[in-house]
Each structure stands twice: as C-alpha cells, then as structure tokens.
Amino acid sequence: MTTPTHGASALAVHGLTRTYGSGDTTITALAGIDLDFRRGSFTAVMGPSGSGKSTFLSCAAGLDRPTAGRVLVGGEDVTDWDEDRRTRLRRERIGFVFQGFHLLPYLSAAQNVALPARLAGHRPDRAKVRHLLERVGLGDRTHHLPGSMSGGQQQRVAIARALVTEPEVVLADEPTGALDSATARQILGLLRSSVTEMGQTVVMVTHDPVAASYADEVVFLVDGRVAGRMTHPTADAVAGQMAHLDDLVVAR
C-alpha cells in the first residue's frame, strides 16, 4: 500500500495535521498522518476515543479543513478547494454512510437513493436506483418512507445512496454503531460485496473488532498518529491489538 501510482489511489492523505485552538490550549487531533487507499480496497480505521478517527474522516470528506497536509481524491489535490467545489466533491465523488443513517424522512427509499443525482442536476437513473435497492435486498420497499423501516433497512438504503454515484471512495463512519449484531453483519457484508463484486473503495471508521475483520486491512490510530497496521485481520487479532495499542505507541 506504500506509494502506489496515482491511477491506483482512490484517496490519499499526506502529512495530514489538524489542531484546534491556539497557544497553551492547542489540541492536536491529527499529528501528520500519511495514508493511501488503493482502488478496490476495504480499509478499517480503528483507535480509541480521541485518537483522531473522526477528524480524519471529516478532513478526507472536505467537511473540515486540515491545518497542514494534503488530501487527494482520485489523485487530485482537493485541499484548497472552496466550499462549492467541496460540496460538489461530496456529491459526486464521495459516498457517505453514517452511524445515524441520515436519510431524508419525507423521501421514499428510491427517492433518497436518487437524491445525489437530483442535487447534481441530473435526471436520476431509475433502473440503476432500482437495481441498487434490489442489491441491498430492498427491492420490495422502494416506495417506503424511512419512518416505516427498521434501522438495518434504513442503513441499507443509505448504502445504496452512497453507491449510486459510483464514487471514488465510500466513507463509512461507525456504520454499524446503531445496529444489533445480526443486522450489523448484513451491513458489513454489503460493504464487503461492494468492494469485492463492484470494485468500490471503502474506508470505514469503527470501534468494533468484528466490523474491522470484514476489511482487507486495519489501520490503528493513537493520539493522532498511525500506530500500526494489520492485513487480513480477524476479530480476535484486532481485539488483541486494540488491547495493546499503548505498546504500539511505545515501540515506535
């Protein structure tokens, strides 16, 4: 995963730094991290609370501006883009899956999935929307409103919405945090198959070692730094590593 060619990189950050406040009260959320996510890879970003996971995701998505360092989406440097271009970036080249689903309550499942296209001013591709909803197992619920669906069903709609624009990268922020373990496995299976079968790139921030075991690789963050990596993770190995993150920091 080190220094691939530009064409193979879906998302990359170089020397990414984010500090809050100034003077004595400065808090460093990210202390210069370098990460490169290959196209068609599934990466889990793990770490304890306050390790900088969420800040990393916000900066990668253009929701927050880094203090220093660069963010590259599909090889293109987007760090200094203004708010309008960042909005278009989120809409067209990044897919989001949130812990709280974030569906629009007054739009049906199909309308929620079609929304990014509408916001971009395109006519939504109905066949594609239907195909994606069928893919996530909701082919019979296209006209249901979010309020009449379970949490797992809502998250599946959110995944279909994230995939509909065929983005460079899908960013998932604790996507199973609000779900029971059986439902969580279905959601993780969907994210996994979007990588394996559709060639998507997924970056998922999570606390859960079981969730991380669905990824190709796990990146551990501690105190705003990359503290370690693990390829072909298993839930047990990840849990063991999480319990000894302090050792990783000391060993560096």
């Binding site: 927050d64 809409r91 989001f96 979010p146």
Partner: protein, 444 residues
C-alpha cells in the same frame, strides 16, 4: 421539577420566544379592546352601545384569531419536543412527570408574557380610546374608565387557552410506551383528532350559515348595517375553520400546488415532498397565512363596498370604516408576526435535517431554495383558500348592497393582499433558513 423546567427553558430560547411573543401580542390585542367594553359602563346612551360594540363585537372577532394562534404556537412548540419527552420517559420519568415539566415550563413563559401584555394593554387601550373619541365616535363627555379588571380578564383568558393547548399537546406527546416516542416521528402524517374536525365543521358551517342568512334575511332589513353584522365575521369564521384543518388541506393540496414551483429541480422536488409528507410541520405556517388572507380580503372589501354603497353623510359610516380598518390593521400585524414566528419555529426544528442535506452534497443555495419553494407552496395554498373563505363575507354583503355577487369596485384589493401575504411568507422563509444553511457543515 420546577428547577428542571427552568433549566430546560434556557436551552430552548427560540421556541420560548415564539410562545412569549404570541401570548404577549395576543394579550395586548384582546386587552386593548376589553378596556373599551369596561369603559362603557361609565358611559351613557349611544356612547355606551358604541363602546360595547367596539369592545365586545370587534374585539371578539379578533380574540378568536388570537386565541387560535396562541393555541397553535404552543401546540407546535410542544409537539417539537416529542423526542426529548421520549428521552425523559426512557430514563424513568412517568408520563405525569414529563407532562408536568412541559406544562410548567410553558406556564412560566406565558405568565410573564401575559402580565407584561396586560400592562401594555392598559396603555394601548387608553390610546385606542383616545382615537375613538378624537374620531368622534363617542362624545367628549365620555372618559376612559377601565381598571385592571378588563386587561386582567384578557390576560387570564389567553393564559387559560395557552394552558389548555399545552396540556392537550403534552398529553399527546406522553401517551404510549417510552421507546416508541424516542423514534423519529418521521412517518407521522399529522392525523386529525375528532374534536378538531368537529370544531372546523362548526366554524365553517356557522360562517356559511351567516352568509346565507345575510342574503336571505338581513339584506332586506331597513338598517343598512344589519347585513354587515351577519356577514362581517363569516370570512374570519371560515378562515379559522379551514386553518384548523391545515394539516389535512396541506397534504391534499401540496401535490397540485407543487406543480407551480416545478418538481424537476432538486429544490422543488424536495419541497413538494416535504410539504405533502410532513404536512404537520408546515401546517403551523399555513394556518396564519390562510387566516391573514381571509380576514384581510374579507374585511377590506366589506369596508370598500360599505363606503361605496351607503348614501353620503351617514355618520355611522365613518365610525364603522375606521373601526374595521383598525381591526384589519391590528390583525394583519398580528398574523404577520405569527407567520414569521411559525416559520422560525419550523426551521429551528429542522436544523439536523438541513445539515443532513448539506452533508450529502446540497449547496447552501439548494437548501435555501428548497425551503423558499416550500414557503411558496404554502403561500399559494393559503392565499387561494383564504380568498375562497373571504367570499363568504364579500358575496353576501355585495348582494345585500345591490351590487350583485361581484362587487362593483375595489377588486384590486385582492391581488394587493395576496401579493403582500406571499411576499411576507417568502421573506420569512428566506430569513429564517439563511442563518442555518450558511453555517459550516459538521460531520455525523
């Protein structure tokens, strides 16, 4: 419980402000006219009658609109807290405790507002009396003679209505198991309770009956004002009756009205579905828009027909024109504030949802445009229904004054009122959404 209520209040300044304003202005409006009625007991002859008519009859129409607005504002702000009430229930509050918290919190705000309103009303009441006397409606011998009784009664009336509305809304919010309440009330469609439908039917039926009586009976009366006394309040009655049905009307009419703003653009698309599927949220805006239109169109045309058809030199004419104009002016001001109030409350409640739109890639402009498009749909429905409601005053009165079903003049008043109401609604929407859509997007 009281301490919790006060602390919770401090976290909700916007909703509290909406309630406070509604109660304050409502008390001022009803209280001012109540002082005229109280002063009548010290007046003699026709002066006493004039003051009673002014205070009780004219003030009475106004009271209806005011009380309706206060009830709907309190209802909306309480309803918006369903989620929080569910949370209280989950951590162990009984339905009774949760209800008491909401009722006491609202009582704290409304009491302060009503007392302040009563104080202001004793000043504005005096000013209103001076205006009536300098207009020559009552003789100089008659003096302002109102104590705390009239403004106090007005304040009490507003407080009682606010308390009742809070209690009803809080009861609805605390019914059922705790877990269910916590869920986002996304699928809710604003179902109508039977007593609401009944109230609407009674109001609309009464208004139409008065219109029929005007044409059939009072039009032939020797007193030219008999027809006005029966038809004058019809537009307000029917307007308030339709406003009570606002959630249902909005849900039914949002789709056809949505065609006006166009469904093809992303903003129009979002707006037409939001107004139809979450009619209960925007119904709070539709109600004052509708009442404002019906009251203004109905009363202004009534005054216009009256001035045109009455033989010149009738001394009553000036009095009644002035009075009607005062009523239209005060009610328009009140309704305008209610429209702004309702929009600010509705948008404040939707902060999370507008953020969500920004997160998935809507530009601030798109968010703004979708909210303004919603306002356009609501305004379109409101002015059409409001104008229809106004017909129940205008048509019978025009017939009674031998102008036929369509008045001979003053029709320009209709587009003028409509333009004013639409501009007000769109302006309120734009201002209240601006602050939110321009805020920085944050994750989660």
């Amino acid at each position: 419980m009281n301490a919790l209520a006060l602390r919770s209040l401090r976290h909700r300044p916007l909703a509290a402000t909406a309630t406070f304003l509604a109660v304050l202005l409502g008390t001022v409006l009803i209280g001012s006219f109540a002082t005229l009625a109280e002063s009548s007991s010290a007046a003699r002859g026709t002066d006493a009658d004039t003051l009673v008519i002014l205070g009780a009859v004219v003030g009475g129409w106004g009271s209806m609109i005011v009380l309706f607005s206060v009830a709907s504002t309190v209802g909306v702000t309480t309803h918006q807290r369903s989620g929080e009430i569910g949370l209280l229930r989950t951590v162990g509050a009984t339905p009774r405790q949760a209800r008491r918290l909401v009722v006491r919190e609202t009582a704290a705000v409304t009491t302060v507002a009503a007392v302040l309103g009563a104080l202001v009303a004793s000043l504005t009441g005096h000013a209103l009396f001076d205006m009536v006397r300098s207009g020559g409606l009552v003789s100089d011998a008659t003096v302002y003679d109102a104590g705390p009784a009239s403004v106090g009664a007005a304040a009490l009336l507003v407080l009682l209505v606010a308390a009742l509305a809070t209690w009803v809304a809080a009861r609805r919010a605390t019914r059922g198991p705790a877990g269910v309440l916590l869920r986002e009330a996304a699928a809710e469609q604003g179902r109508m309770r039977w007593w609401r439908v009944l109230a609407a039917v009674v109001l609309i039926g009464y208004g139409i009956a008065m219109a029929v009586i005007t044409v059939a009976v009072t039009a032939h009366d020797d007193d030219p004002y008999a027809a006005m006394s029966t038809s004058g309040s019809s537009s307000i009655l029917v307007g308030v009756g339709l406003a009570v049905l606002a959630p249902v009307l909005l849900r039914l009419l949002a789709a056809p009205a949505g065609l006006l703003v166009g469904r093809t653009g992303a903003s129009g698309h979002l707006a037409s579905y939001n107004t139809a599927r979450r009619a209960h949220l925007l119904a709070g805006v539709l109600a004052p828009v509708l009442v404002l239109t019906s009251a203004a169109v109905g009363t202004l045309l009534l005054v216009d027909i009256d001035a045109r058809t009455l033989p010149a030199g009738n001394p009553d004419s000036d009095t009644i024109t002035l009075l009607n104009n005062v009523v239209v002016g005060m009610l328009s001001l009140f309704a305008a504030i209610m429209v702004v109030n309702a929009f600010v409350a509705a948008i404040a409640h939707r902060r999370d949802e507008l953020q969500r739109l920004r997160l998935i890639g809507a530009t601030p402009r798109q968010v703004e445009r979708s909210v303004v498009a919603e306002a356009a749909i609501v305004a379109a429905i409101g002015v059409v229904l409001g104008t229809l409601a106004a017909l129940t005053t205008v048509v019978p009165f025009a017939i009674a004054r031998h102008e036929g079903a369509v008045p001979d003049g003053g029709l320009w008043l209709v587009p003028a009122v409509v333009a004013g109401v639409v501009a007000l609604t769109l302006g309120a929407a734009r201002t209240s959404v601006r602050a939110q859509s321009r805020a920085r997007v944050v994750g989660r």
